[in-house]
Symmetry: C2
Subunit: 110 residues, 2 copies
């Protein structure tokens, strides 16, 4: 592959990679509703502070999320809501996968 093309795909993959974790997907969906701070997310997720903080840093570095300090707490904000359309497509894939499994099963029963 041409070097330039390679770089483009690497840049894209880096962003997608930032989304490719259950906790980070959850965070992104939460941030769709409103901004949250680490503590609130920790409570919802049930992981360590440091773990959630790291996930937020990953999302921030990818450019999907921004942060803003308000007094003592830092609020995280979803910069690119178009990401959520994508999750609709992912859901579609899951649905198709599930349907296909059902088909295989019904075929076995015949």
């Amino acid at each position: 592959m041409i070097k330039q093309t390679q770089s483009l795909y690497e840049a894209r993959a880096a962003i997608i990679k930032a989304l490719a974790h259950p906790t980070r997907l959850f965070i992104v969906e939460m941030l769709q509703k409103r901004d949250y701070n680490v503590g609130e997310l920790v409570e919802m997720i049930g992981a360590d502070f440091s773990t959630v903080s790291k996930h937020l840093t990953t999302l921030k570095n990818s450019g999907l999320v921004s942060d803003e300090r308000k007094g003592t707490t830092i609020y995280y904000h979803l910069k690119t809501p178009c990401i959520l359309n994508f999750i609709g497509c992912v859901e579609e894939v899951l649905q198709i996968n599930a349907d296909e499994k059902l088909n295989v099963l019904s075929y076995c029963r015949k």
Copy 2:
């Protein structure tokens, strides 16, 4: 997080993870145009046959791609073109990231 919710996000993340690699993104975009076999993709990508084949298996296992044998060769097919809308959004994120870097630079120059 509730166990059920956890499972849902894991399932979604698994699909996104399948996309989160430059070579696999490239393959998905190529398959948007038409079906390809491993050999053709190897030529475009410039990696080992086994490497590309493994990437195709990853895409197939996630349900994004299907395969069909025609004579001696196996052709790969993009099952869910909605994925491509998502890449548009990723591109948007890249654009914003680039713009922000430019802003920071111009700010430094003042």
